[in-house]
Amino acid sequence: MTDPTQITRILFQDFDPKAIYLFYAFGYLAIAIFIHGCYVQVRKYRRGKPDESWNQIFKRFWDMVKTMASHRTLVRRDKKAGRAHGLIFFGFVLLFIGTATITLEYDILEPLFGVRFWYGNFYLLFSLVLDVAGFAVIAGLLYMMYRRKWMHLPKLDYKRVDRQIGDPDYDRSGYRREDWAFLWSFILIGVTGFILEATRLVWLSETPSVWDHRFWSPVGAILAHMMTGLGMTAEGAGAFRPYLWWFHGLLSLTFIACIPYTKIKHIFTAAASLMFKSPLVGRRLPIIPVEQANAGYKTITDLTWKNLLHLDACTKCGRCQEACPANAVGAPLSPRDVILSLREFANKTLNAKDLPAEAELDIHGKSPGQVMQETLWSCRTCLACVEICPVAVEHVPIIVQMRRNLVEAGEMEPILEKTLQTIHKTGNSFGESKRKRAAWAKDLPFEIKDARAEPVDILWFVGDYASFDPRNQKVTRSFAKLLNKAGINFGLLFEAEMNAGNDIRRVGEEGLYEHLATSNIGTLQSCDFKSIVTTDPHSFNTIRNEYPDFGGEFEINHYTTLVKQLIESGQITLKKKLDYRVTFHDPCHLGRYNKGYDAPRDVIKLLGCELVEMGRNRDNSFCCGAGGGRIWIPDPVGIEKPSANRMREAGQIEGLDVFIVSCPKDLTMFEDALKTSGFEGQFVVRELIELIDECIEYDVVDITGVAEVISTSE
């Protein structure tokens, strides 16, 4: 039996002490370069504006660990890539822990205290684990190489939609070279590591304490047998080993030194980005501090340190671009390009010792690193990019902050400018008189209470589209009848209701938003009610998530939640079942923004409909194109509208009767798109309320609804 302390790996075995010193010198040099790089990066972040994401630091850290350990965000919508990354990640973590363990013994415990533990069974298990880890890394990297080279994924094509061929930053081929350098250097480190391990085994094949336990490092052992099979002798291995050792060692040290300067830094930046992510990202946009003179982001130093950190976390995976509705229809926007442009800009201007002059820090424009107006105005603030980003990059708040600057400078479509002025003047985007806000209620057979004058249980915040758009007014009346039928004590704000401001805020007109929000909050606070209900997901979002920042804490529900309760509790009885084959479009502001995926689906099922999901559903729902104020800006002619793109998707469902929406803007957008995209007659677009309405028996029978339309279209 061998002495267990002999079963180990002797570090620097047979090395000249001078060589060891040399290696340590290289090691310290690599660490110095690494630390300097980290310092430059941290200095860069510190040049950003403050941000208060330091709160709950332990919870944040723990959430980050959970996200990373589960790889939850990486396997989403790209399982194979996520799992391959998992192999690389966990392999790398184990190899790092392994190396750190050796350092702990060799450089700290043994020289200082004479403590050794890296031998015997522990050593053997250690060898096995690290062999598996190394194998996992190589397997993961091989898949990634295959994916980059042969899968031709559009999301891995870095060509820009917001630049022309010939522009210096059009094809971003530098990034492609970096990707390959990263893959090759990483895989070379792994492969040379295994060959080195095998070479050592061959070299020490006469030493029983090594050779007898060779299968505890199975990859190395197999390679060793192959080498001896090919005629390698112990002496030959011994002669070859130093060259390989130095190659492997220097490559690894170079890799470490390169971390802060290359995409490898995502090891740290992605983790930090996950840790500092905002729980209400995009749902609650940042307020402008009172003392701040100008609104929004004009220069790179207007970004917060957190924004700058997010820029560095991007790994160019392209999932945001794939999910982006503007990008899907050929608008000059890729969320990834916005992030990368700003990152390049930050690296160019903020990495130097001295900050350049203010004029050189302007991030608006068409030069490399700058973001074009057209790009910023293409965004529909649907949060699809933020939702899918595996490393929690927060694109939308940056885009809105940049728009705030454009709005202040008046750099926007004249028609949008007119709309904003109209909203300021009349409190609604239709330019209608305040007095007419509740005009839709005139023909109802009952009176709706004025919540300003008497207490109600539920205050109904109607919103602009549901109040003024003639098509939506029909739905609004149906919902009023439903509430009345259910015996709910509800009321309206009548002419005191103003546009809730959600989309105005997302346009970037923060002053107007503050004006609307504070006015509505004042009105709401003067009323006596238990909770708010709305059929408008946009109003829902801003009242729920953003009004608290202005002192307005209210309980608010989207109508789908309320209706579900009413049906389940029996306050609403459904007199018949519908046998339609339907699909459901998740409104961005109900679904992605507020995770209201289930209530509408539950209601649809309670109605008896057969629900067939579209490919892009729930958190991957495809924006109708009206978000972020784009409902007020006409889409360019000649390219497909996002709503038409969505209609094509729904059109693939065989035998579809109804395309169900639960948002007034969706109803407008999709009814329009249905006509223009040639699906009219095949299926209809309906508000969920309209289907519910069909199933409720009112005293006066109302014969509008889907049945009629479907029977005539068939």
């Binding site: 402008i288 003179a293 609104a295 709005v407 202040e408 008046g410 926007m412 400018e417 904003l420 002025q421 300021h424 003047k425 009349t426 209608e432 008189s433 007095r435 007419k436 007109e509 923060e510 002053g511 107007l512 503050e514 004006h515």
Partner: protein, 264 residues
């Protein structure tokens, strides 16, 4: 160098409105007030001169009207005007454009600007005479319906293009100081963001009384005006129909309508 811009807060009517009990105007409840559309352009023209000038240019906006006008003046300040002056006295209620011109003239005499801009007309009353009456009281040269202006601070002449009927332009050289009434479309007015308007709230609006400019209640109001409103009313709607179809169909339709009128 100083440019004075005369502005007005005009009223837009809601879709449904009621005439005041005295029958002289629309009930104020149904009016939505905003800065006169033309004044956006005249202010922008002044701002353009200010911003492209090497020497200091002060832009002063002046309006005649009650407290509510401050909101529109604040918008002008948000767009970059340096000062805002508002003249009012309840006695001025009912003043016509000529009397308003008289009041503005007294302010202008005190301010002594190098140029005076006004809008061609106001969107609610459309007399198109306030600016011109100012020129008359001041005895300054004037040009109306200015669609293009070439002028630098310090110049003693400005070259302008006036819009005439039928798409014609007239190029005129005018001695300065002068009163120009500015036409829509001469420039692209800037957007006044709400934050800008809020921040402008800290800039003071100078309130000037009639006495401050050497006038009294006897100089203003309906009594001093050269025109007075006798009645405001909604005309009866005429009946117009577009008759379509072939010539003979149209003729048959006309005969039918005539017969209906005759009571056949």
């Amino acid at each position: 160098m100083k440019i004075l811009v005369a502005v007005k807060q005009t009223a837009a009517l809601e879709e449904d409105f009621e005439i005041r009990d005295d029958g002289l105007d629309v009930d104020e409840d149904f009016m939505m007030y905003d800065l006169n559309e033309w004044d956006d352009f005249s202010l922008e023209e002044a701002m353009k001169i200010k911003e492209s000038s090497d020497t200091e240019v002060e832009v002063v906006v002046v309006s005649v009207g009650p407290d509510r006008v401050d909101e529109s003046l604040r918008k002008c300040l948000a767009k970059g005007a340096d000062r805002a002056v508002r003249v009012w006295d309840d006695a001025a209620e009912g003043s016509d454009a000529i009397v308003v011109g008289r009041i503005l003239t007294e302010v202008i005499k005190k301010e002594a600007p190098d140029m005076v801009f006004a809008g061609v007309q106001s969107s609610d009353q459309a007399y198109a005479s306030t600016g011109i009456s100012v020129a008359s009281y001041l005895n300054w040269p004037h040009a109306a319906v200015v669609a293009d202006l070439q002028y630098k601070p310090g110049d003693n002449k400005a070259v302008i293009r006036r819009e005439l009927e039928g798409g014609m332009l007239q190029e005129v050289e005018i001695n300065c100081p002068a009163v120009l009434t500015i036409q829509l479309g001469i420039n692209k007015p800037r957007y006044a963001s709400l934050r800008g308007i809020k921040q402008a709230a800290t800039k003071p609006i100078e309130e000037v009384s009639l006495a401050d400019i050497g006038l009294s209640a006897n100089d203003v109001g309906a009594a001093q005006s050269m025109s007075r409103v006798r009645r405001m009313y909604i005309p009866e709607k005429g009946r117009a129909t577009m008759i379509e179809g072939t010539i003979s169909e149209q003729a048959a339709k006309i005969i039918q309508i005539i017969n209906e009128f005759k009571g056949a």
